[in-house]
Symmetry: C2
Subunit: 256 residues, 2 copies
């Protein structure tokens, strides 16, 4: 079956270029040619039912501001020209970080944070041999993503630099969480790069239940629509629901 | 079939009492016994599919404010404990004014505005005999609603006072609009009181496409849930849609 990602245009938009250049100093279209295609092996078994085009954010002249709204600190509502988009904030952030990590694996510079003190992590005994092997075989990829790791004899790992996105580092607990998920993902796909991108993005993404400011919501929306596949989380679940004004009128029985 | 109005409790709530007392100086429960039941003859052919209970507005301790949101200046979104209410602003305001007018017909005092100069309205020739007859037979009801009318020979009417709700009086054009709709409604129900209440509420209600402030939205929501039948407009169309968090989770495929 044909691979298609929500009928996303392959033409690079101005917004994409702008955002990309801010981050990498390169033109997005050039960069695109240099790297392999962004891939998520398990998400598209078939074409989505209804291809979506990227929406124009609705901005009437008399409205100075786009005014997003957050429901139960989990979903972002934003008005578009012919209706409403509802965005799953956690899944959207996962998608953004997932693509960022794949870009890094293909050469985009990582944004990192240096730890004040290097931390030694002892791998729990219940982790099978897969994880230590995956780590030592892929130290270069960890480094591209933004993790500066050294392995020691036994099951010890020293970390002194982590990706900037991992704001909730929590003494290294989140690294164990990432490795746990990596093991699960890798079992399914046997694709290390995709598995580590999924694991890190899941653990680094903003949680459902987190209040966001207007500025944070707008940044998330901008980053999301700069993604190549903005409509699905890395595991293929929808992350945007669109409701048109016509749908509302039907549900309120204003029209048949 | 049994008449039921969205399983609205017949017990008077504190909110209802408070709002009602502010407006009339009476206890709502006393008042209720004095007047006939609020009625809208044509809306309930059968029981609604799923009885709704009045929602608790969701106010977590850490949230100082209820934060309603307006989509396309037509629908009001408000968070409730287990999800979201979407309210059709025009239909909601119609319902509020409709019940207010029926209360007035049964004796509640009208809020009126005196016109600076009395206005003489000439009934258009295309209006059949029904309208002039309905007016002269029901001058007392017009007066209870808040219209101070005098009829003259021929088809002239003098108006010097109108209900406070008719903010967009526009030199009397809206009165002709009301009479047009009255004629249509009366043709269907042959019930003058219900027809005039429907016509005035339709023309006095806030339009779709009108931007509302937070304060206006909160006032509308409060007034709506003080209504006896908050879920349907006077013509029986739904005016509130509820979406639960579980529905969202299903649509985003977070749960099966």
């Amino acid at each position: 079956k044909k691979f298609t990602a929500g009928a996303v245009s392959t033409k690079t938009t101005d917004l994409e270029n702008k955002i990309f250049r801010q981050k990498t100093g390169k033109k997005f279209s050039q960069y695109k040619k240099e790297v392999e295609a962004i891939y998520q092996p398990d998400i598209f078994q078939e074409e989505p039912e209804e291809p979506l085009s990227k929406p124009e954010i609705y901005l009437k002249p008399e409205e100075e501001i786009i005014n997003p709204w957050q429901l139960h600190q989990s979903y972002i509502f934003v008005q578009v020209e012919d209706g409403l988009l509802i965005i799953d904030q956690h899944a959207a952030h996962e998608r953004i970080i997932y693509e960022k990590i794949l870009h890094r694996i293909h050469g985009a510079p990582a944004q990192t944070q240096k730890l004040l003190f290097p931390i030694v992590i002892e791998l729990p005994s219940y982790m099978t041999q897969t994880i230590p092997d995956l780590i030592s075989e892929n130290l270069d990829i960890f480094s591209k993503i933004g993790f500066s790791l050294k392995t020691f004899s036994g099951n010890s790992i020293v970390i002194d630099e982590i990706p900037a996105e991992l704001s909730d580092w929590n003494g290294g607990d989140v690294f164990i969480e990432i490795l746990k998920q990596l093991e699960e993902e890798f079992k399914e796909t046997e694709d290390f790069r995709d598995s580590i991108a999924k694991s890190v993005s899941c653990k680094a993404a903003i949680k459902a239940g987190k209040r966001m400011t207007r500025k944070e919501m707008l940044a998330l929306i901008n980053d999301l629509f700069a993604c190549e596949v903005p409509y699905f989380c890395p595991h293929g679940r929808p992350l945007i629901i669109k409701m048109t004004m016509t749908e509302f009128e039907k549900r309120f029985k204003r029209i048949e």
